[in-house]
């Protein structure tokens, strides 16, 4: 009746072969996911890194009478078609501000237009044959060059790809995040403290808990509808402003902070609370003076992660109008502003080839900030990790 090891092993061969398959397939699945990640990042780097270089051209600027009306007149006509119009537009103002310039001329490195830029980078462009030959010639003599693109980090948005920059969006993001954090952090921590330390186990508490879990899973665009209908239409908060954007994102970030804070509070052992009660602390004093300080690293980590999540959010901000065209960097909570992901979205919608590069460049800036934030959270967690 009983089989020997050899008989059984022989039977098992097929099953072992079949079993090995699951291991390889599942490993392949993980590999595939990893491959996606690699493909994605290499694609973004490939498309975005050129954005950090921009074509500059050396031109002879002749501050003559005509140039006070039309900047184009200050340059050689053949060259001026290669120069960014953003520079041409500056010339009349420069002469107005500094009348001594009139009648003089100088050699300057100025932004080339995006067509020249794309041509130098080997992308599709609209330059004519003659213009290409001229650019080649100038490049030969060192009068056209790809240099580090400072404009990208110092300008706001622009309809001209070569002078479009991310700064206005970065400032807008900072302002929006300030609002988000100012609202979500205290309310989130207070909610978590209440649920974890004070709340009786009743229906209301359960309702709040279920509700928080549910809020974390509601599509973000619905928060945008709330922002539009309640904050803008009902309370009259200015549309497109960091205030309304920040408030909307605060509601989205709230569950993340609450859940993280609760975990952090739960990881503080009860012995700490008992010790505090033992020396006559009230419940609130025990929480304020002993539990919260110990939970703080965990709370900070969770808040940073929540912040990073909010920072990448776009859909609700589109609904509350934060996709405005913002050419100037303005520090205000109530004026129209844009944020980094919204800027990326705006650029992605521009038909011009040069904007693809800007979009990917903006994405790289955004991703770097997000990675830095998450790395901070990881470091914070590692540093303060404590075993009770």
């Amino acid at each position: 009746m009983n089989h020997s090891f050899d008989e059984i092993s022989a039977q098992l061969k097929k099953r072992h072969r079949k079993s090995a398959r699951l291991k390889w397939i599942s490993m392949g699945a993980l590999g595939l996911a990893g491959l996606f990640l690699v493909l994605f990042f290499s694609d973004m780097l490939n498309k975005g890194l050129p954005a950090f270089q921009q074509a500059y051209i050396q031109v002879e600027v002749d501050y003559n009478e005509d140039a006070t009306r039309m900047g184009r007149a200050a340059m050689d006509r053949e060259i001026s078609s290669l120069v960014s119009r953003s520079f041409e537009r500056l010339i009349p103002g420069m002469i107005r501000d500094n009348p001594d310039l009139l009648g003089t001329s100088e050699q300057r490195w100025v932004l080339a237009n995006s067509q020249v830029d794309q041509y130098l980078k080997g992308h599709r462009n609209k330059l004519s044959e003659e213009e290409r030959a001229r650019v080649d010639e100038l490049a030969e003599s060192g009068q056209v060059e790809l240099k580090f693109n400072t404009t990208f980090f110092t300008n706001g948005d622009s309809k001209m790809a070569e002078s479009a920059g991310i700064l206005a969006a970065v400032v807008g993001t900072v302002m929006t995040m300030l609002v988000t954090l100012a609202i979500a952090f205290p309310i989130g921590v207070m909610t978590a403290v209440y649920l974890e330390e004070f709340a009786p186990d009743n229906r209301l508490t359960q309702l709040i808990e279920i509700n928080i879990n549910n809020l974390a899973a509601i599509p973000s665009i619905l928060f945008g509808l709330l922002g539009l209908a309640i904050f803008i239409n009902f309370f009259g908060v200015p549309r497109s402003s960091p205030l309304v954007g920040g408030m909307t994102l605060a509601l989205m970030t709230l569950p993340v902070i609450i859940i993280a804070t609760r975990t952090a509070l739960r990881s503080v052992p009860d012995s700490i609370r008992h010790a505090a009660f033992g020396v006559g602390c009230s419940r609130w004093q025990a929480v304020r003076d002993h539990v919260l300080p110990l939970a703080m690293p965990g709370i900070m980590t969770g808040s940073i992660i929540g912040l990073a999540q909010a920072m990448g959010e776009t859909a609700p901000l589109i609904i509350v109008g934060m996709v405005a065209f913002i050419p100037d960097v303005g520090i205000s909570f109530t004026n129209a502003a844009t944020v980094m992901p919204a800027q990326v979205f705006t650029w992605a919608g521009e038909p011009e080839r040069a904007f693809v590069e800007k979009t990917a460049g903006g994405i790289l800036v955004l991703l770097s900030i997000l990675i830095a934030l998450n790395a901070t959270a990881v470091v914070l967690r590692k540093k303060f990790e404590r075993r009770w």
Partner: protein, 418 residues
Amino acid sequence: MQTNPLLALFGGALLLLGLIAFFIGRAKAARVRAAGVAMHAQPDQYAWFAVLATAGPALLVSALGAFVMLLLGAEIPVPYLLAGSLIIAALGLMFGINKAKPDFHARQAIERVIGWILIGAALISIFTTFGILFSIVFEALRFFQMHSFWDFITGTVWNPGASFLVAAGRGDEGGAAAQFGSVPLFAGTFMITAIAMLVAIPVGLLSAIYMSEFAPARVRTFAKPTLEVLAGIPTVVYGFFAAITVAPIIVNVAGFFGLDASFNNAVAPGLVMGIMIIPFISSLSDDVINSVPDSMRQGSLALGMTKSETIRDVVIPAALPGIISASLLAVSRALGETMIVVMAAGMRPNLTANPLEDMTTVTVRIVAALTGDLEFESAETLSAFALGLVLFAVTLSLNLVSVIMIRRFREKYRVNNL
């Protein structure tokens, strides 16, 4: 804008009153104590109580006033309101200082107030849900007054711009009135969600199986956070990736097989959305698989099952409720995903089963309706809220089912584990 200096003045006055309350309250309590009378609380606590008595009611009254003005449209002149609040603050100040007596439990009083503040904070999350619900429901109701709910749910033509055609004298082409049949939008949404799930569920689940059952510890500690990076990438970035990189690849591949694909095909956003969702499935499934008690694996191995047979026939069936719950959450997320489809899917409502054609989704139409230069009162704008209502209802039920399933799962193994 003229209210701003007024508000600043109000804030300044309130701050001043608060400071006065603090110092007088503390001084008084300290004096009582110095006289040798035993008190129920510390001087600072009396001081803080005085501050609370000063600022609390005043702020409440002004907030209430502001709310009444907004909600009921009643005109209360702002200066009067603020002045009234300040008077209440002064009254509170006197009350608070008066209370600085030995037999008053200042600490308990403060902590009661703190307790209420904490409850208030906790209620904000409830208000948020209701806020979402109300803002959507009210506007949606207004939409359904203009267009029948039945047509909205069953209609197969979504053509909000048709009224313009009528105005342009081309009424014959688009029908007599704007049509809001949402079936094509839902069809598009489900098509893209289905494609995303076809990518995310197998890859995510298998990755989770590998990480929790096969991978050496070193691979696991590295692979898990790496996968989570996929979840941290903003959706707008995925949208760009789908539109600029993936869609042309799909078109080329389809062309290679002699098929005609649109650049706004459903495959590209679906595929990229699937990639985005992989870590949701994998990390939730990983947790669930890990919480299947080891005794079950051992029971199977001790019967002479191979590792894979154990996983397939014992571990996965045991973890199934958790895995389904994770998948439901993922579906809910895919249905509500906006940026990827806005950037990579089409704008044209298109009822088709061919994923290579362009099609649009609910979220795309919501964005389109709310970002144009239309009047807020127009049917098209309001249709966004009607769509939002459906989205809310569907995702809410998916989330709830998923939460209940995962809770059952946890309870089951807690009981069995004891």
